[in-house]
Symmetry: C2
Subunit: 448 residues, 2 copies
């Protein structure tokens, strides 16, 4: 019986993947939105298309019942480049068995995020069949086409449509199956602000002997960067931690239960050591629950082989701050500017890069979150790993803050899915188990 | 009468310039050495060619008398690239009148350093003619072909031939005529050591969210760089100033007399301000008499437009220290390594780049130095500008320390000579005045 739904799902996935919806290049976003709309309308959804910054935002509704589930997915994908590193055509779903005998489906978007959308759609079809052609819960499905370019439309869209999007809980994109087969569920995302520091001391480069009298822009930038945190990574900007929401008892309990994979992670990337020598609960506390300053790039002056005795006229540094609830990126920006003035570097220019966003974290004790966790436990037959927040960022904040729903991530990628990279893939068995999870999750929400 | 010597000098200059002695590319260095040898032998010099690292070192001797003058020049030149920026063929001496009506000779090496060698040779011819065909002083002339690649053979060569090179004083290359027409004489050079700091935290780049647990190589390098000096440029490495030789009263007197061109310099390069807001004597004290740390380059991670949330695996910084007498580059290297350990960054690798060298500074009160200054005053009819040391570096140290001679720089370039750059040139009137100075200087040394 479920084989029929899966067969249909594979056909839908192939058709959706074939539409090259690369948001960074503005490719086929309308076509992607229209095909998703068509798939949803075939299942009885009423679909509204709203104008986003570069791609339509879709809100689809169907079903009846006491409970309402909000779902978030996106139909855009990352660029496929570098093309030469793909082993299969990037926009053709191709089944291959890997060296470990694991059957995988390869193509851009099979994992992030078209595969997840199709799995959920297939499960809703199966659920409807079980209930005489009627969904036993209300589904509100928000799909965007700008996730891979930082979701520039979502914060204000969700703010403006908060009433329309009311629900008992929200099922987010992503989430994974870990190497041991345990499902990994996530209850939040960090906030982010990306910045550039710029320093210029002259209109042209000088012979380095003039370093005796002319200040050095790279030393000034180094002084600025060095002053921002201590050796343990604690951020030293006045007021930075003032608005940080303390982790809940449930958050701390969850990180303490995460299996310690810090050693395997360290080996995989050849990492020379962790901040604070953290491992176990402390490792995941840092990763999931604490704000971070990261230096993405630092450039200025001579960079080729050997030496060049130049005093460069300028340099720049790229930074990101990963934030936790309730830190406001705009306030962090002001605090950073005040910090540079305080330490005597008012001439370092601070430029904000791209979209910033606030963090969001759900209450793990909420019945909706507990239902998701229990469903995963029962379907996968193993205790799920629960991260109160991912280390990464995304537009979850308006859902939790404006709509007021708890949000769970439960997905089907794994550590070898190569999301955003060549040879993106998904384990076929995870796709099928994901269908089973979705069907059970929908059923339990309906009865919650 | 002097016109004949100058005519011969222009012919010699054209012939020497035509031999493209580019040491960085190992081009025509033997041919250049042979032609210089031939020019010197024609004037009665006994010339010995010694094997250098890539080009012959020449020592030529001639003359009789009480006094001995050691001369240092080099017959190699900088590469001519970028060729498209030259307005005349780089290896053909071409006379042109500039927009201000000043007649200039253009070609690679006319200023640095073939023009200076030819001027001095022409003056010796004239001197010999005045003295019945016999030079009234002993000349020892050391010419190398590796100056533009850091003089890798000179330190040990001069050490090993210190007795053979004994003299009453040494006339170095370079020195200039300033924009107001005053001759600029220089009595020393700074030492130098060029280094690279390297930091690596992992074997591959990571998503920046892992900055929560993995240290950042650019922050660590920034911390290292920031710790090396204060906002005034004072170096904060333990022991760094211990061996610094205090400037003499004559050095301080000389810098106090240097006309203050800091404002013009600031305007020419669009400089936003000087360290300590230095001007006048303090400006030149810093430039001529104090050691300096300079950051030549700082690179790691993302450097293109916008943001990329990456935690780079590694980064590097290029530094130079300009040293004063009696600082030892090898000791500075050890002090820097100890400093990095002291501040908790033992994992930053320190790599020495290319040739380092010690500083050298002559006693401005020495009769030889005073003779040079007085000659310049009388020949140019104006009070010369005397720098006790240049801000730059070169292989003067073994001459002062091993041979034990005072060294003076007195030359013929000016601020628009474009040394090391396209359109290198020399003002024809400065070339001819340089001949006059050389003839008078030789005569006075003979009678000193």
């Amino acid at each position: 019986m479920s084989q029929n739904f899966l067969q249909q799902a594979y056909q839908d996935l192939a058709a959706l993947v074939a539409i090259e919806t690369v948001s960074a290049q503005g490719r086929n976003l309308e076509a992607g939105a229209d095909f998703v709309t068509q798939l949803l309308e075939q299942e009885g959804f009423v679909v509204k298309q709203y104008k986003g910054k570069v791609a339509p935002v879709l809100v689809a509704e169907a079903g009846v019942g006491e409970r309402t589930l909000l779902i978030y997915n996106h139909y855009d994908v990352q660029p496929e480049s570098p093309l030469e590193e793909w082993n299969t055509p990037p926009f053709v779903v191709t089944e291959k068995t890997d060296a470990d005998g694991i059957v995988r489906l390869h193509a851009r978007g099979v994992s992030d995020d078209k595969g997840e959308f199709i799995v959920r759609l297939a499960a809703l079809r199966a659920l409807k069949a079980q209930h005489g052609g009627q969904l036993p819960l209300k589904i509100k499905w928000l799909l965007e086409g700008e996730e891979e370019i930082g979701s520039p439309s979502i914060e204000s869209f969700v703010h403006d449509h908060a009433t329309e999007l009311q629900a008992d809980g929200c099922w987010w994109e992503f989430g994974a199956i870990d190497p041991s087969g345990k499902p990994v569920l996530v209850g939040g995302l960090k906030g982010i602000i990306c910045l550039e520091l710029r320093c210029k001391v002259a209109e042209s480069d000088l012979h380095s002997s003039y370093g005796a009298v002319v200040d050095n822009p790279l030393w000034k930038l180094a002084q600025a960067v060095s002053s921002l945190r201590d050796t343990n990574g604690k951020i030293l900007i006045d007021g930075f931690y003032d608005s940080v929401r303390a982790p809940s008892a449930a958050d701390l309990e969850a990180v303490a239960k995460i299996p310690d994979e810090s050693t395997e992670f360290s080996k995989a990337y050849g990492i020379k050591g962790f901040l604070e020598n953290a491992s176990g609960a402390r490792f995941y506390e840092r990763l999931c629950l604490e704000p971070v300053l990261n230096v993405n790039g630092f450039h200025g002056g001579y960079g080729d082989a050997g030496s060049k005795t130049v005093l460069p006229k300028e340099g720049f540094v790229k930074l990101d701050f990963r934030l936790v609830p309730d830190q406001d990126p705009a306030q962090v920006l002001e605090q950073l500017k005040a910090h540079l003035i305080k330490i005597g570097l008012p001439d370092i220019e601070v430029v904000e890069l791209e979209t910033s966003g606030m963090a969001a974290r759900s209450d793990l004790n909420h019945p909706f979150m507990q239902t998701a966790i229990a469903t995963a436990r029962d379907v996968y037959g193993v205790e799920p790993v629960v991260h109160p927040s991912a280390g990464g960022s995304g537009p979850m904040h308006p859902f939790i803050e404006y709509v007021g729903v708890p949000v769970i991530c439960a997905g089907i990628s794994n550590h070898k899915s190569f999301i955003h990279a060549p040879n993106e893939n998904i384990v076929k068995a995870h796709f099928e188990k994901g269908f089973e999870f979705a069907l059970e999750f929908f059923s339990r929400i309906a009865k919650m």
